[in-house]
């Protein structure tokens, strides 16, 4: 149904960051995860009333759209998302705005600050372990085939040497 602009609903937009940042998720997968979290927390009626939608999902950032006045509920639903299509993740709400354009500008600034991560290997003790190394210094060891006596999520301060894959 097409409505006159004055009769349309007022929307709010929310920018969120996905952590960990290595896999890129589909907008539909993110929508399904958030929608499930919202309806399990607030019920179907409020969920339908909120009209939550994923407008953009790229470069570790997601922009959500929802009905004005539902800010706290949407933030709490986003906070309660634990996994997207079976992969454990956290969605961190960052900024809210009345226009999507403002959030796109904010997103550009944040993308410039966040450097991409690379595959590589790190030395800890006597052994080398495969890992995902972000340029901000965070290192996620790959769980497969390593000794679990060491922490999987570390920083550059915890290791002795590192090597980036070509």
């Amino acid at each position: 149904m097409r409505l006159r602009p004055s009769m349309r609903e007022n929307y709010r937009y929310l920018l969120a960051r996905i952590n960990p940042d290595n896999p890129s998720y589909d907008a539909k997968e993110i929508y399904l995860a958030v929608s499930e979290a919202f309806s399990s927390l607030f019920g179907e009626i409020k969920s339908a009333h909120t009209w939550i939608a994923v407008m953009e999902a790229s470069n570790r950032f997601v922009i959500f759209r929802y009905r004005r006045g539902m800010d706290t509920q949407v933030e709490s639903a986003i906070a309660s998302v634990c996994c997207i299509s079976g992969v454990p993740v956290a969605l961190h709400p960052l900024k809210k705005s009345g226009t999507i354009r403002t959030l796109r500008e904010e997103q550009k600034k944040l993308i410039n600050l966040c450097a991409p991560s690379h595959e590589g290997s790190i030395k800890r003790g006597d052994a080398w372990y495969p890992a995902v190394i972000s340029q901000s210094g965070q290192i996620d060891l790959k769980e497969k085939g390593i000794n679990l006596q060491i922490p999987l999520y570390i920083t550059e301060e915890d290791i002795e040497d590192l090597y980036y894959d070509e």
Partner: protein
């Protein structure tokens, strides 16, 4: 006197319980980095006694997570924590166990009430917590991870504790109980989630800074 938005930047946000390696799967430095990024100003670190250079103003409180099979074991662990100068976080049990824990000198926080049996935290426990200034921990993990009836049960439990807190005014703490970086949530997101459960925003802010007062209380008596 700072007001409004300025006040927000002066607030302290301390995560009430983070499990480091070997209890969790992240290192101390990684935890500090993740929490700082999210806007926290400190944390209670369980499971590691390594020191972190405290030049950035991020407060780290070492703690012992105690879950003893018997009250004697718990008392022994609390004494060790007191000697180490660290906080002692004791896992809740049955009602009678909780009453003993809350009257044990040196206990800082009673946590994991969502794992305890039904009616484990009653009016007497609330009174003891208020008298001995033992904090009751609100863990965000079950609100985030559970779905359906189990989560409803946790929400109901937290409502009951809040009702008792309103009457007896015992201290509370808010913790993520994170075992890997994906478990962390920003103070803003946690505040949104807890306010939906029925927690007052002022109480949430109090909960975030309560550890500072409790840590002074747990320091052992020294001869001067």
């Amino acid at each position: 006197m700072p007001t409004g938005a300025n006040n927000f930047f002066l607030m302290s946000f301390i995560d009430g319980c983070v499990f480091l390696h070997p209890l969790g799967s992240h290192s101390l430095s990684r935890c500090v980095r993740e929490l700082k990024e999210l806007g926290f100003t400190g944390m209670v670190a369980c499971g590691s006694s390594e020191n972190y250079p405290n030049d950035t103003g991020f407060k780290i409180f070492n703690a012992r997570y105690i879950r003893g099979p018997s009250q004697r074991e718990i008392r022994k662990e609390v004494q060790i924590a007191l000697r180490e100068g660290s906080l002692s976080l004791v896992q809740a049990g049955e009602s009678s166990v909780n009453r003993t824990i809350l009257t044990t000198p040196g206990v800082t926080t009673l946590c994991d009430l969502h794992l305890a049996p039904k009616n484990a935290f009653d009016r007497v426990c609330a009174l003891n917590a208020a008298e001995h200034q033992v904090a009751i921990d609100f863990r965000v993990t079950p609100l985030r991870e559970l779905r359906g009836t189990p989560r409803q049960r946790v929400i109901r439990l937290y409502e009951e504790i809040l009702h008792l807190q309103n009457r007896y005014e015992f201290p509370i703490t808010i913790s993520s109980g994170a075992v890997f970086p994906g478990n962390f949530r920003s103070p803003r997101a946690t505040e949104a989630l807890l306010s939906e459960v029925g927690m007052d925003r002022d109480l949430i802010h109090e909960g975030y800074k309560a550890i500072q007062n409790l840590s002074h209380k747990s320091e052992p008596v020294r001869v001067v």
